[in-house]
């Protein structure tokens, strides 16, 4: 977990990042792309209708996961 997390934090070269952006644009040419994310968001907003509730949930889950995986706190900023 920590190795993959570390790779998520490493800054990409401008060219690598541009390629990532291009991949995202390509992905969304499919009109159904993003449906899972929209469904997740709809569930999250129903389950935690207020901003405070959503932030409390994320803070709690982040703390639990960081404790369980020993991800350094600064990598979750």
């Amino acid at each position: 977990v920590s190795a993959s997390h570390r790779s998520e934090e490493e800054r990409l070269s401008p060219e690598e990042f541009a390629r990532g952006l291009a991949r995202i644009q390509e992905h969304f040419k499919d009109p159904k792309a993003g449906e899972d994310t929209r469904e997740l968001a709809a569930w999250f907003l129903r389950r935690y209708p207020s901003l405070v509730e959503r932030c409390r949930y994320v803070t709690r889950r982040t703390s639990e996961i960081a404790r369980g995986s020993r991800i350094p706190r600064e990598r979750l900023e």
């Binding site: 800054r11 994310t37 997740l40 968001a41």
Partner: protein, 156 residues
């Protein structure tokens, strides 16, 4: 500086009622919009003239700035910390790796509001501007966040 963890309600209300021209950015903004992303901290972008106002509003929660207002203005960012961290960006504008600029005043003029309580609102950049802010970091996790935001942006 280490204190007891704060209730998110206290942080959000203090930010919202600070009187600073303040935009919630970073992963907390994604959470605000309904995306349950892991994050431990808060990221905000404020008007460069409002550092003192924000610091004064967060002081009752024992948040301490890591830099003087003058130093923060020259460096473009600082942190408010007390165990919890609030990363504060104060740049007038910021560029993505490809050179695309986003000015605070422009993002502020297009902001959206979200209720924190019955009497308090916090502001976020509009979705397109929030996507622009996620281009600043240039990390794989920023690409993940952009993909999630693009999914919301393309909602039918």
């Amino acid at each position: 500086v280490e204190g007891a963890p704060h209730d998110d309600a206290d942080i959000l209300i203090a930010l919202a009622e600070s009187g600073a021209r303040l935009l919630l950015i970073g992963r907390r903004a994604l959470v605000a919009l309904g995306l349950p992303m892991l994050t431990a901290d808060y990221d905000v972008w404020i008007h460069t003239d409002d550092i003192e106002r924000l610091n004064a509003a967060m002081a009752p929660l024992d948040f301490v700035p890591t830099r003087s207002p003058e130093e923060a203005r020259s460096r473009g960012r600082y942190v408010l910390e007390d165990g919890d961290h609030i990363d504060v960006m104060v740049a007038r504008s910021q560029a993505a790796p490809d050179g695309e600029h986003l000015a605070f005043d422009d993002a502020w003029s297009r902001r959206q509001a979200l209720a924190v309580s019955t009497s308090s609102k916090i502001h976020l950049p509009r979705l397109e501007d929030l996507i622009s802010t996620k281009r600043w970091g240039g990390r794989p996790r920023d690409l993940m966040d952009i993909e999630a935001l693009e999914a919301l942006r393309r909602a039918p």
